[in-house]
């Protein structure tokens, strides 16, 4: 695909925002005492890189992200907790930096919307099942919404005889 094009654009963006990456520029080795890379990654996994689109901070390799990770390491070394570090970044760089919203209300909305949708679907589904069950009880009566008459239709309207035969064959095997 034209991933080539966007990768070219991405490279262009990286080139604009940082030097082309010679290996040694990835200064990844200055950790304060008591802080491990795992700690940094634990925090970084919950954040996004603001410079590169859509890449979590612990995976991003641009020089900006390397510096951000160093800053995370430095703050962890000062004794801040994970949450404090993430909140600092969100405060400074905007809410897009966090992978899950920090603001409790936003977080609630993020999870409430699907929950609400599920509830709505569940209610509609239950009503639908109830209505279909009632029709099942009143054997074969199908009420049309747009017309006022009832119709006796014990067998579905569009059925082949082949399918009827197969149905009967299958029904045979059920009563065991």
């Amino acid at each position: 695909m034209a991933r080539g094009l966007i990768l070219a654009a991405l490279v262009g963006l990286v080139a604009l925002s940082s030097a082309p990456l010679p290996a040694a520029a990835q200064s990844g080795d200055t950790l304060p005492p008591g802080v491990t890379w795992d700690d940094v990654n634990r925090v970084g996994r919950q954040m996004f890189c603001d410079v590169c689109e859509g890449i979590p901070l612990d995976e991003c390799e641009s020089i900006a992200c390397v510096q951000w990770r160093e800053e995370i390491a430095r703050q962890l070394g000062e004794g801040r907790t994970d949450d404090e570090v993430i909140d600092y970044f969100v405060e400074r760089y905007g809410s897009e930096v966090a992978a899950i919203p920090r603001d409790p209300l936003d977080r609630f909305i993020a999870f409430a919307v699907p929950a609400a949708l599920v509830a709505v679907f569940g209610v509609i589904g239950l009503f639908q099942v109830r209505r279909l069950r009632q029709r099942g009880h009143r054997a074969g009566e199908v009420a049309r919404r747009s017309a006022v008459r009832l119709q006796q239709r014990p067998v579905p309207a569009d059925v082949d005889d082949d399918i009827l035969t197969r149905l009967e064959q299958e029904l045979e095997g059920l009563d065991q």
């Binding site: 094009l5 390799e61 809410s95 699907p114 949708l117 679907f121 099942g136 309207a157 095997g173």
Partner: protein, 701 residues
């Protein structure tokens, strides 16, 4: 010369598609068959025309015709022949042409196979397919034309890319070498992944076209489903393959230890897969019981719209993703097509629903019947789709709210958001996967269902107890394993019951098994697919819940431990590959319980290009290739994140059961092939009596 052939053939194909669309609609309006036949011929002609265009582009690629700007952008003199072929879809313009070609091919076959048996649907099928093809050809002819060439006007220093000769005595300019394909794309998985996805996407257009025709003509029985069931399954097969390959490529090459990032573009391919899966299941109910007509219409329409949305979102830069294409001007036309087809198809669906034409044998004899479980399945998949859609588009929606002043901040949802939200749906789906094959059609009771599912349930509990005893203490994972095991055992049980029944009548086990499958390939292929999904489920639970990772800086001789493995770092060395990339390779030995298990070589590849400003080769892309030791039980996977001198920082992953994911994927593919294999039984087709057929074709709808 060849560029002209390409330009003309795509142009004529566009005219043919547009004509076919108009002629089909005229034929419907005036009820004259001659128009419909003419439309059909025009539609059929698009396939050879686009084949010519694609072959022309392929020829240009193979012969390094750099005067064509597309060839220049995607290949260079050093590109191996294999990648010359695959450059056909390597960039925007070529991939659009490839898409159009696939669309015309599918339409060609669908028209020929179904012309006689679904005659009444044909005018609208033509309309829908030609509208879609015509739209993509608009993109291909007027906006992203792969046959643009470079022209140099005397007096200008830079050649300009254009379709037709610019003013001022310009001549075609042929560069001596191209830019070459991006290194990240030079991987087998990355090469096959796009065409698989395109096959899946375009494949779903055919069932949609038939559904559209059914809505338009009122032929709302199961005939449209029967005609397109195989298409839908084939499209689903390719879409699944595309998703699997994408995951595998990400795992192999991108080096972040995972296979699915919940990236917006990944989700864009997942969404139609979800509704497509629901459609495949729900269609069975309509064929067998005449129920769920509205659902099937809704599902296939939504699948089609999600396909267009997915293509649009990927190519127009609308979602912030690492995958997205660079911005181009196709955004607005694609949006127009998406909006137009959404409005038309939903309006048609609502109209038919309001009239009551989509009423079928809508009655449920029991909540525990198979129809009821299929209905629940529909709801679960639809809900899952909506939730993933929300997660992907929350940022866009809240951006609007921010711009309207209703909110302060944008809600941005990352990969951590999706698993907890998606899990409840997966739980339900796996439960249904186990229960539904055990449930009976029509009348059923809770006791009956409970009786049939008792043994699989007990076996699943036994598995959970076994895992608990052997030290697995993660409650969620335990529950997940039990659930997946239940679905697996239930499926095996169903197959076993059938084999046992035949065996009782005197067949040997193996012949009973193969005859059983042969008799009902669709059903037993489906069971294999479910087994594949079960195995994949095991892989996902293992590699998510029990993944361990660490990152450490090491000097040669140092060791690190993870997941029962010990890795000793031996040293670093440099090498240069044939295509000019510089590789920095680390050697490491992997031990398990003091036994040498593997030698792994994670490495970093740096690609260089010529920088004319600096007059030197400068590094551009940097790839991280993992070194891994794969067994059935786990992957031990290491990548280099940084190095200086001989000191290297490694990020190491321990991914248990990850290979179950790929194995399950293979089982899924095999199962689909079994389901697709033509049955020995004669096809059950509705045969119209000649008189009726003649009356219908003359007084055509």
């Amino acid at each position: 010369m060849i560029a002209e052939i390409g330009i003309i053939s795509t142009g004529v194909a566009f005219v043919a598609a547009a004509y076919a669309l108009i002629a089909a609609l005229i034929g419907v309006r005036t009820r004259r068959d001659a128009w419909v036949i003419s439309a059909r011929n025009a539609a059929l002609s698009t396939f050879p025309l686009l084949t010519v265009a694609s072959l022309v582009l392929l020829y240009a690629l193979l012969n390094h015709e750099y005067s064509i700007s597309y060839v220049w952008q995607t290949t260079d003199n050093a590109t191996p022949t294999f990648y010359l072929y695959t450059a056909l879809w390597g960039s925007q313009a070529g991939s659009l042409l490839f898409w159009s070609w696939l669309m015309s091919a599918f339409t060609f076959v669908a028209l020929l196979l179904n012309w006689r048996s679904e005659r009444r649907l044909m005018p609208y099928v033509l309309a829908a397919t030609m509208a879609t093809l015509g739209f993509f050809l608009i993109l291909n002819v007027f906006i992203e034309n792969p046959f643009e060439r470079y022209w140099l006007t005397p007096g200008e220093t830079q050649p300009v890319s254009a379709l037709f000769r610019p003013a001022g005595n310009s001549e075609v300019f042929t560069p001596s070498d191209g830019t070459g394909l991006n290194p990240l794309l030079r991987h087998l998985g990355m090469v096959i992944h796009p065409p698989m996805l395109y096959l899946g996407f375009t494949g779903f257009v055919i069932p949609f076209a038939f559904a559209f025709a059914a809505l338009a003509t009122g032929q709302l029985g199961a005939s449209w489903i029967r005609a397109t069931r195989v298409w839908a399954l084939i499209a689903w097969l390719f879409l699944s393959l595309g998703l699997l390959l994408g995951g595998r490529w990400a795992y192999d090459v991108l080096g972040w230890g995972g296979y699915w990032g919940w990236d917006p573009v990944e989700n864009a391919a997942l969404l139609p897969w979800l509704t497509g899966t629901a459609f495949l299941h729900s269609a069975v109910v309509q064929e067998k019981r005449g129920m769920l007509k509205f659902w099937n219409m809704l599902l296939i329409i939504v699948t089609f719209l999600l396909v267009i949305l997915g293509t649009f979102a990927t190519r127009s830069g609308v979602v912030s993703s690492v995958h997205a294409f660079a911005e181009s001007e196709i955004g607005i036309p694609m949006f127009t097509f998406l909006a137009g087809s959404a409005l038309i198809s939903v309006a048609l669906l609502v109209w038919r629903q309001e009239r009551g034409d989509l009423r079928g044998a809508d009655q449920l004899d029991s909540v525990f019947s198979r129809e009821s479980l299929f209905l629940l399945n529909n709801w679960l998949f639809l809900g899952l789709m909506v939730v993933v859609l929300w997660g992907t588009w929350a940022e866009a929606i809240t951006t609007i709210l921010v711009d309207l002043g209703l909110r302060d901040t944008i809600i941005n949802l990352g990969p951590n958001y999706f698993p907890p939200v998606v899990r409840p749906f997966l739980v339900g789906i796996f439960i249904l996967m186990g229960l539904a094959p055990l449930a009976a059609w029509r009348r059923s009771t809770a006791q009956r269902l409970g009786r049939s599912s008792l043994i699989p349930f007990l076996l699943a509990v036994a598995v959970m107890v076994l895992l608990l005893v052997t030290g697995v203490d993660n409650i969620l994972a335990l529950f997940g394993f039990g659930l997946v095991a239940f679905a697996g055992f239930a499926t095996i049980f169903e197959v076993g019951k059938g084999v046992a029944a035949r065996h009782r009548r005197g067949e040997g086990y193996w012949s009973a098994f193969s005859n059983l499958i042969g008799r009902d390939r669709h059903r037993y292929g489906g069971y294999f697919i479910h087994l594949g999904v079960v195995v994949m489920g095991l892989g996902v639970i293992g590699s998510t819940s029990f993944q361990e990772t660490t990152q450490q800086t090491m000097t040669p001789g140092e060791r690190l431990t993870l997941g029962g493995y010990t890795m000793e770092y031996n040293g670093l060395y440099d090498a240069t590959a044939e295509d000019g990339r510089r590789m920095t390779i680390a050697r490491a030995t992997v031990y398990q319980d003091d036994d040498v298990v593997a030698q792994i070589r994670p490495r970093r590849d740096t690609f260089y290009t010529w920088d004319s400003n600096a007059q030197t080769m400068t590094p551009t892309t940097n790839m991280s290739i993992p070194g891994s030791h794969s067994t059935l039980s786990a992957d031990f996977y290491a990548i280099i994140t940084f190095w200086e001198g001989n000191t290297a920082t490694f990020r190491v992953y321990f991914n248990p059961l990850i290979n179950f994911l790929w194995i399950g994927g293979i089982i899924l593919i095999v199962g689909t092939l079994v389901a697709l294999w033509p049955s020995r039984q004669p096809a059950t087709r509705v045969q119209y009596a000649p008189a009726v057929a003649a009356a219908q074709t003359s007084g055509d709808r």
